[in-house]
Each structure stands twice: as C-alpha cells, then as structure tokens.
C-alpha cells in the first residue's frame, strides 16, 4: 500500500505527470516576468514546451565510450532526483503517506547542482570547466548560508521530520531562516545576480556548452523542476494552513507563483556579479546571519 502511494506521488502527483507541465509553466512565468520588466510582450505560453520538443528532435553530441554514457546520465539523474524531491515536499503535512525527513530532501535538492558540476568536467570543454568551477565555488558558499538557515529552523521545532517543519509556528527564527534561504535561491537556480556559472555569452554556455539535443532538453526540464522544488520547499515552510485541502492547495500555488515572479523580477533588475563578489556576498551574510541564527536558536528554543 505504501509502495503504491509512493509510486503515485513519484509518477502522477506531484511527480512526473503534474510536475513536468508545472515546470514548463514556471519557466514561462520566469521568462514572461523578465519580458514585462523590459516592457516587452515576451514568449507565448507554450514556449518552454516548444523548446523541449524541438530539442528532443535534434541530434545529440556523439561522445565515445564512458564519457558519452556519463554525459547522458547527468541530466537524466538530475530530473529523477528532482522528481523525488518534489514527491517529498509536504503540501498537506497531516496526510502522511510517503513522509521523508529534511536531510533526504536537502540531499535531493543538492544533487542536481553536483551533477551540473560533473557535467561540465565530463564534457572536457574549457568553457564547461570554467562553468563547473564557478558553480562549485558558488554552491560551496551559498550552501553554508542555506544549511545553517535550515538547521536553525529544524532546531526551533526540535525535529527533522518534514511534516513537523511544515506546521507553521510564529517563531521569529523561522522567518529569519526563510529570509536567508531566499537569498540563496538565486544562486541555486543560477539566476541574476548570481548567474556567473551559466554566464551566457561570457563563457559560451558554461557547463552545458557541449550539450545538444535530448540531453540539453533534459537539462532545461531539470531547471524547471528545480524552480518548482525550491519554490515549493520555501512555500511549504512559510504558509499558514487552514485545514481545508482545496484552500491550502490554492494558497500554496499562489505563494509559489509569487515567489517565481519575485525572483524573476530581481533577476531582471540586477546585473551579473563576478564570482569574487558573489562568494564574498555569501560569506559575509553567512557570518552575520550565522551569529543571529545561533542567538535566536538559543533564545527561541521551544
């Protein structure tokens, strides 16, 4: 019974069948928001779908041997891992079902970034390597802040269980933690101002320079799923639940949507920081907020 429930979560809702169109919609919202910020009309609603199908119909780069296998493996693994992360996000915490804990969810959210780094190194393109190195240093610095913030939230509710974390509490520790997580999300999604790792035109296409065809399509899809998973993760910890399923789902969707609009607006309004500036930014905030986290974790201990 539990296996069936888990499979339904992975493949139907909120997994494959729901998540893929939702990921395309979020990619559309991102591009449309940036277009509106620049006083343009922007792409049509189905644009991410068109891009995906077109890329599926193109030929891929032919790499011989194990490299070819790995090049295909990284984007496929990213998509699988993100679908797993989506299945864990507690939209309705009291429903039970396939409930995992926070450490598993964080691992699943981190793995795509690791695969992205490995993809750049596997392709052996110098631009891919530069992109991977930038992503690695950015991920190291933004994760420090991300993980301390999550740890503080977990400490404030005395639990690593996702269903406990999703129950709202008025503790200021949670809001401070969520603010810190919001600072990290642009770096995780490679958005402006922390877009040095993908830095289009500047280092060609970063880690994905040598990717083409279906593999590139999977990377695009993984990016959309990352949007979905990260905005869902933040929203699930931030919104007050009424107990009515339909109302909760509507509030969840509306809040995730506003988060995407907010992040895309920030991306459109800012310029790309250099890797030095990005890393320095995160380490400074990490130190400042880390001290605040420690104090609040002690003061607001439940």
């Amino acid at each position: 019974m539990q296996l069936t429930a888990a499979l339904i979560r992975l493949l139907i809702f909120p997994g494959l069948l729901f998540a893929v169109p939702a990921a395309w919609f979020f990619l559309y919202v991102e591009r449309k928001t940036i277009a509106l910020m620049q006083q343009r009309i922007g792409p049509p609603l189905l644009q991410p779908f068109y891009d995906f199908v077109k890329l599926l119909g193109k030929e891929s780069a032919h790499y011989p041997g194990i490299e070819g296998l790995l090049m295909k493996l990284w984007p496929a693994l990213s998509v699988c891992v993100l679908l797993g992360a989506l299945a864990l996000i507690p939209v309705f915490p009291w429903r039970g079902g396939f409930s995992g804990d926070l450490i598993l969810l964080i691992t699943l959210l981190e793995l795509p970034s690791l695969f992205y780094i490995l993809a750049g190194f596997t392709s052996r393109s110098i631009y891919g390597k530069v992109g991977s190195m930038r992503e690695a240093s950015l991920s190291l610095s933004s994760n420090l802040l991300f993980l301390t913030a999550i740890m503080m939230i977990a400490v404030s509710v005395h639990s690593f269980r996702l269903s406990d974390l999703a129950v709202p509490s008025a503790s200021p520790a949670r809001w401070l933690g969520l603010a810190a997580i919001l600072l990290c999300i642009p770096a995780k999604l490679r958005l402006n101002p922390f877009s040095t790792s993908s830095a289009e035109q500047e280092i060609y296409s970063g880690a994905l320079t040598e990717y083409a065809g279906a593999d590139l399509a999977l990377w695009e899809l993984a990016h959309g799923l990352e949007w979905l998973a990260l905005s869902g993760f933040v929203t699930s910890m931030a919104f007050p639940r009424t107990g009515i399923r339909l109302a909760d789902a509507a509030v969840f969707a509306a809040l995730s949507f506003s988060l995407v609009v907010l992040l895309a607006t920030v991306a459109a309004a800012t310029a790309r920081l250099t890797i030095d500036h990005s890393v320095r930014f995160f380490w400074r905030w990490s130190v400042a907020l880390g001290i605040a986290f420690l104090i609040s974790a002690v003061v607001f201990r439940g």
């Binding site: 922007g42 189905l46 199908v53 077109k54 011989p64 052996r124 296409s205 320079t209 590139l216």
Partner: protein
C-alpha cells in the same frame, strides 16, 4: 508517427535558437543583429533566442565576407550545430563580398563554403529585415525533408570539421 513528426516540425518553427558568427565583418551587421534581439523588437515573441554555444543553436547567423583567417572556424562552427539546422547570411558581404570583392584576403561569398538558406542583403540590413530573414529560416526548419536552397547540398566536409573539433575538446587540456 505522422502526428509526432508534425508536432516536432511545428516546434522547430516556433523555437529557433541562434548562434552569431562574424567571418571578418566590419561589425555593422553585428551591431544590427544585436539591436534586433534587444528588447525593442522583442523577438522572444517568435521564440527566437540567442545562444552562447553553437551546439544549442538551430540557425547560424553569419556576417562578413569570409576571410581566409576565419574559414576554418566557419566550417568547424557549422559542423558543431546539430541537425536540423539553417544558415542565414547577414549583409551584402556574405552574399557577394560587397566592397571587399576581389580582395586577396577574402574567400567569399558564403555559399562557396557552406550551404546557405536565407540571405538578408543590406549594408547593414535593418533589424526588421534581419528578423524577417530569421523567421523565414525558422519556417524552413519546420519543413519536411528540406534541402538547403543555395550552395552545396552535401556538407560532409563541414561535418568532418565539426567531429574533429569534438575530438580536440576530448584531449586533456590542463
């Protein structure tokens, strides 16, 4: 199966990604191309997107009369664009070498080396004309069994150049 083919062809029309290459142009056409993909003309409505890597592109936008120095790079980049692809020659230089015709350093026009689908003449062409040219190339991409309109129908030499470039990237370069 036929339906799937139709869907893919429709999506090809709706999502042309560009790669821009200069083969010895005076920069006039490059400035116009950049102007036409800037917010004022909003080409994202047509799904047009300038990509950083030739491997992501569908349409190769080439400016300049093809100088000897850029010829090998041109063939390599053409080989790196995955099938199906289209080539748009921007400006009079790529079509006829324009003011550079007869120069000993120029090896144009473009269709002597790679198959070209659309030429956008002008010195430089206006952004409106460039967008129209790209839209025509995108429509060609969505056509069944299409063959390049101008130049060689076989591009085996360029394919080999693209493969060779791939081999080069595989060599350890630390």
């Amino acid at each position: 199966m036929k339906l799937l083919e139709k869907l893919v062809n429709h999506c090809r029309k709706k999502s042309p990604w560009l790669f821009h290459m200069n083969t010895g142009s005076c920069n006039g056409c490059d400035i116009e191309l950049v102007a036409s993909i800037a917010p004022r003309y909003d080409v994202e409505q047509l799904g047009i997107h300038l990509e950083g890597s030739p491997r992501h592109a569908d349409i190769l936008c080439i400016t300049g009369p093809v100088t000897h120095a850029t010829l090998n790079a041109l063939k390599t980049v053409y080989g790196q664009v995955p099938h199906p692809k289209a080539v748009v020659g921007l400006g009079s230089c790529s079509a006829s070498c324009n003011a550079f015709a007869g120069s000993p350093t120029v090896d144009g026009p473009l269709h002597r080396h790679i198959p070209v689908d659309v030429y956008v003449p002008g010195c430089p062409p206006r952004p409106d004309a460039i967008i129209e040219g790209i839209a025509k190339a995108a429509a060609l991409l969505g056509m069944k069994d299409r063959v390049p309109l101008i130049g060689d129908e076989t591009d085996a030499g360029c394919e080999a150049a693209g493969e060779a470039a791939l081999m080069e990237t595989e060599a350890p370069c630390n």
